[in-house]
Structures are given as structure tokens and as C-alpha cells.
């Protein structure tokens, strides 16, 4: 198992904030919108340097999505910022009609996704957003795993023409990817080469998968770990190549098991190379209040649950 260490922990939303500021400096067409959550989305640096390119919308997410769609007419590249729940479910029809169907170049940037939002509870812990967004034709869906990857993704999506859903979170997590990485939309990252099982992980679960990989190595299981940061378009080639070698799969995500990364992987496998698969995901339920760590354990999303899923799936080979 390749060794991954970290010297610092940060929240992925801060990676978004830093990326937004940098891409704002690089590209004068980048504009930002926020629905009364500037501090939570870490947009302050962008706003300070480019006040004329920032739009405070107020608590009106539907209006924000419409204004973002309109801003693209004339060449702007709008980044909308609010919580994942209010970025998707609350405004699904606005995104569907005014952005996705209209082919607008809007970057929907969603913080506080999943259970790790923590104490605010289930009203704010959306676990369905990946599914909602990936079902929209033409929508790109990205869920980066740490500060550096989130920053790189935030910068990279400005150069891609089309609607993007960029999902990140609130908790402080290890920074283990390179600060100068080149983020390629739709290109999976091989975290660790292995032979016995393929672990496909996204978002906060990538670090958990690395932890699991180390435990599995101690148990004599050689796990291949692949970071699927782009859930749509999915890197089918990387998935099929890995499974051809390992013959079984564990998917890991901070999302409902219905409609997330796991289902996307299962669809590719069912069509091309059926293989046993276990899901590490929320078992079709809402979340609840608690600390992020407590919730990840209770809902089965930590390294230990990945280890268990691997042991189970290997027996099914």
C-alpha cells in the first residue's frame, strides 16, 4: 500500500474559496453569486478583490439560478454558491430548464454536502444531490476529495464550457493530494495499485478508503484504490480496467446508496463486465444531528465499514 501522509487539515470549502479567488484573477469573465452564505462558502477573498463581479442575491436560490443563467448570455462564467441542499433539490426545476436544458455555462458550487455538515441535522444534510444532478442531460458532476483537489477543480471548470455541479463539504479533513495537481474532468485518479479488490471512492470517502487500504494490507488484502472525483462523465475505462484485474468492487461515497456513484459504477459493470459489488453509502435514509465523525460511523461511511465491505465482496468472487 502506497503511503499517504498529511501535514495539514482543511475544509474542502476553503479549497473552493481559494480556487474561486485564483480563477477570478485568471479569467475576467468569472463572476460569483451567493444566496446569503458568503462566509460559509469562503467567498470573501473573491469579493474583496472583485466586488463588481460578485452578486449578493439574498435568500432566494431560485432567483440566483435564473440570474446565473442570464449572466452567461454575454459571456460571463457564473459560479453560484450555497449549501448543497439549496443548490439542488430546492432549485431543481430552475437548474433543469434555465441551465441544463438551456445549455448554460453555470458552475453550481455546493458546500456542506452530505452527513458531515453535522449538527444542523437532516434538513441540511442532502444525500440525494449527486443523483439529482447526474440525471440531468449534459450536467457534469464533480465531488473532490480534499482542499487541493477542490481548489484545482474549481479552477479547471472555468475552462470547460457547460453546466457543472461541484460538490464539497464543511469538515476539516486531511490534505493528501498535490497542491500543483492538474485537474482533469472525467479522469479518475489511481490512488493505489492493487490486485484483490477495486475500491472506487469519491469526496471525503477517499481518505477513508486510504485508511481502509492500510488496514487491509495488514490483513493481507491488496486493494486497488481509485478516486472517482468526476461522477459524470464517468471514467468507464479506468473502472473496467481495474475490475478486469481485481474481479470485485466496493464503492464509497457520502450519499444515498440509491442514485450515487455506486449506481453509476454498477451500471457500467452490468453492461460490460458484471462483478460482485458492495456499497459503502447511506442506506436510503435521512441523516440526523451529531458530530461528523459520529455520523460517519453510525451511517457506515468510515474506513472500518470499507474494510468490512471489502471482506464481504471478496468472498463473493
Amino acid at each position: 500500500m502506497k503511503k499517504y501522509t498529511y501535514t495539514e487539515k482543511k475544509d474542502t470549502r476553503s479549497g473552493f474559496g481559494a480556487g474561486l479567488h485564483e480563477v477570478g484573477q485568471k479569467n475576467g469573465n468569472v463572476v460569483a453569486l451567493c444566496a446569503d452564505l458568503v462566509g460559509s462558502l469562503k467567498m470573501d477573498a473573491f469579493i474583496k478583490e472583485f466586488p463588481e463581479r460578485f452578486f449578493q442575491i439574498g435568500i432566494a436560490e431560485a432567483n440566483m439560478m435564473g440570474i446565473a443563467a442570464g449572466l452567461t448570455i454575454g459571456g460571463k462564467i457564473p459560479y453560484t454558491g450555497t449549501f448543497a441542499n439549496f443548490s439542488t433539490g430546492r432549485v431543481y426545476d430552475q437548474i433543469r430548464q434555465s441551465i441544463a436544458y438551456s445549455g448554460k455555462n453555470v458552475k453550481i458550487c455546493a458546500s456542506h454536502a452530505g452527513l458531515t455538515l453535522g449538527e444542523d441535522g437532516a434538513t441540511h444534510q442532502i444525500l440525494e444531490d449527486i443523483g439529482l444532478m447526474k440525471m440531468l442531460p449534459g450536467m457534469t458532476v464533480i465531488n473532490p476529495c480534499d482542499y487541493n483537489q477542490t481548489k484545482a477543480a474549481t479552477i479547471a471548470i472555468a475552462d470547460y464550457e457547460g453546466p457543472v455541479y461541484l460538490r464539497f463539504g464543511r469538515p476539516v479533513v486531511p490534505i493528501f493530494t498535490s497542491p500543483d495537481q492538474k485537474f482533469e474532468i472525467g479522469k479518475a485518479w489511481l490512488v493505489n495499485e492493487g490486485a484483490d479488490v477495486s475500491i472506487f471512492a469519491t469526496g471525503h470517502l477517499v481518505w477513508e478508503a486510504i485508511q481502509a487500504g492500510e488496514k487491509l494490507a495488514e490483513l493481507g488484502i491488496d486493494a486497488e484504490i481509485i478516486n472517482i472525483h468526476t461522477i459524470k462523465p464517468l471514467d468507464e475505462e479506468a473502472i473496467l480496467k481495474s475490475v478486469a484485474k481485481t474481479g470485485c468492487v466496493v464503492t464509497a461515497e457520502e450519499h444515498n446508496r440509491i442514485g450515487g456513484l455506486g449506481d453509476s459504477v454498477a451500471q457500467v459493470l452490468a453492461k460490460n463486465n458484471p462483478a460482485p459489488q458492495e456499497y459503502v453509502a447511506v442506506n436510503d435514509s435521512f441523516g440526523e444531528s451529531g458530530t461528523p465523525a459520529q455520523l460517519m460511523t453510525k451511517y457506515g461511511l468510515d474506513a472500518e465499514h470499507i474494510v468490512g465491505a471489502v471482506q464481504k465482496v471478496i468472498k463473493r468472487k
Binding site: 463581479r53 439574498g58 431560485a62 432567483n63 440570474i67 442570464g70 426545476d93 433543469r96
Partner: protein, 281 residues
């Protein structure tokens, strides 16, 4: 430049013919609101709007128009065709398979003149505000227009946008509401009252004008007045009273023709009331 009212009225007759023929041909669509707004579209596209039918989606350096109540697509399509965005013969494909003239307007099939999809109601004002802000960022002094239905005002997003535009002094925006008082299930006053719209929009901070949308002279004057009021720190709202089905006697003033197509006999009766002024497609 003052409008040639007789000429505009003549064009509006052809647009009305196009509307009933399109809706009859596919036996679906929304003739009522389309007929009611024919004069508005003609006054806008054939006189008021500074636009280029060669069409670029970004519309830099030209006025932009957005249709929020997308179901009145027949009047939009006819107006675009008759002003040169595409050949009028394409109107025959309305709502048919493989057509660029979808039931509700869309950019998806790349029909010239359409800049955003609409149909699901309440979204157009927000989009228009975004486009107006982009114009300001680009140093583009042209204007953005948007039309909404009155029933559509029952959607909450409209009022989010209503609050936003005056707060942010979006004064390069002229919105119009088609105040025909009808919606699918009946009169707006019966379904869900809209109340005093002038007072409401003024209370939100808009500069509000009122006009008769089926009187070409009044309409042209109001559009000119609206334009003269832009750039003064407030968005402009035109409350435009129209008659659903205007121009065809048996369709007038009733919600029954909101979304119903005429049969062969009704088509003939309608066309006998509408002069062919530009040649049928």
C-alpha cells in the same frame, strides 16, 4: 422615430393568421394568450427593439427579449420568422417531430432568436435580470426586455426577482406583464387573486406603466415611454391589459382558448376575420 401604426397593425394580422394556422396544424398549443400578445410582439420586434435577426446568442450590442410564459410560443415563433430570424415556412413544423419549433421555446434545437428555454413558469424575470447585469458588466448600453403572463405571477420566484431588481438598480430592464386576467382553470381573480398589481410592483420599487396591449398606438407610445425611463435607477414594469384570443371573435375574452386548438371549421371562421397581409407560409 415614431411608429408606422398602420404598418404594425397589418403585420399583426399576419402574425395572428400564423398563430391559428400553426395551432390548427398540430392540433395543440396555446392560441389564446398568443393572439392577445400579437400586437405587443409586433410593436416590439418591428419597431422598438434594437435587434439583429442574423442572431448571436450573446446579443452583444443589441436589445434582448426573453419570453417567460413560454406557452405562447406561437406568437414568438411567428414574430421571429416574420422579422427574418428564420424562414416562415418553418412555422409549419411547430410542435411536430424533429422540429426546432418545440412546444415551448428552447435553445436546445438552436432556433435563432431563442436565448433560454421557458415553459415552466416564473423563471424568465430572473434570467432577464442576469442578462441585464451582464450587459452592464460588458459596458453594453442596450436594454433587456421580458414578458410574463399574469397567472405566472403566482410563482414565488417572480417575487424573489421583483425584490432583487430594484435593490440592485437594474435599470436597463423593461418587464411587461400580460394582464389578460385568465389562466387555465379560469379567471385569475377566481383561481388566485393578483390584487392591485400596480401598487404591488411600485411597493417593490419598480417604475410602473400601464397600457392597452391591443391598441397599437398606445402600446407603441408606452414602449417608447418605458425606454425613455431606463437608466434612472429603477427597473421598468409595463402592466399591459390584453384580451385573450384578441382578433378572433369567438376566442376573445375567455380562458377556454388558453390551450385548445381550433378544428377545420373554426380555423376557417378565424381566418375569415384575419387578413393575409404578408402571405401565408
Amino acid at each position: 422615430m415614431s411608429a408606422d401604426i398602420a404598418k404594425l397593425e397589418s403585420i399583426a394580422k399576419q402574425v395572428r393568421r400564423d398563430i391559428v394556422r400553426m395551432v390548427h396544424s398540430c392540433q395543440s398549443g396555446h392560441p389564446g394568450g398568443s393572439l392577445g400578445c400579437a400586437d405587443f410582439f409586433v410593436a416590439l420586434y418591428f419597431h422598438q427593439l434594437n435587434h439583429r435577426p442574423s442572431f448571436s446568442l450573446d446579443g452583444i450590442g443589441e436589445d434582448l427579449f426573453f419570453l417567460s410564459n413560454g406557452h405562447i410560443s406561437p406568437v414568438f415563433y411567428s414574430t421571429l420568422a416574420r422579422s427574418g430570424y428564420f424562414d416562415a415556412s418553418e412555422l409549419a413544423t411547430f410542435r411536430k417531430i424533429e422540429s426546432r419549433l418545440q412546444g415551448h421555446p428552447t435553445t436546445h434545437e438552436h432556433l435563432p432568436g431563442i436565448r433560454v428555454a421557458s415553459g415552466s413558469l416564473g423563471q424568465g424575470l430572473s434570467v432577464a435580470i442576469g442578462a441585464a447585469r451582464a450587459k452592464k458588466l460588458n459596458g453594453d448600453d442596450k436594454l433587456v426586455y421580458v414578458l410574463m403572463g399574469d397567472g405566472e405571477l403566482q410563482e414565488g420566484q417572480v417575487w424573489e426577482a421583483a425584490m432583487y431588481a430594484p435593490h440592485n438598480k437594474v435599470d436597463n430592464l423593461i418587464a411587461t406583464i400580460d394582464r389578460n386576467g385568465q389562466q387555465i382553470d379560469g379567471a385569475t381573480d377566481q383561481v388566485l387573486s393578483l390584487g392591485n398589481l400596480k401598487a404591488k410592483w411600485e411597493a417593490f420599487g419598480w417604475d410602473v406603466l400601464e397600457t392597452n396591449g391591443n391598441n397599437m398606438q398606445m402600446l407603441s407610445d408606452t414602449l417608447a415611454e418605458a425606454k425613455s425611463r431606463t437608466g434612472n435607477g429603477k427597473p421598468i414594469m409595463i402592466l399591459m391589459k390584453t384580451e385573450m384570443g384578441n382578433g378572433v371573435d369567438f376566442m376573445m375574452g375567455s380562458h377556454k382558448w388558453h390551450g385548445v386548438a381550433p378544428n377545420d371549421e373554426q380555423l376557417a371562421a378565424a381566418l375569415s376575420q384575419l387578413e393575409e397581409t404578408l402571405g401565408d407560409y
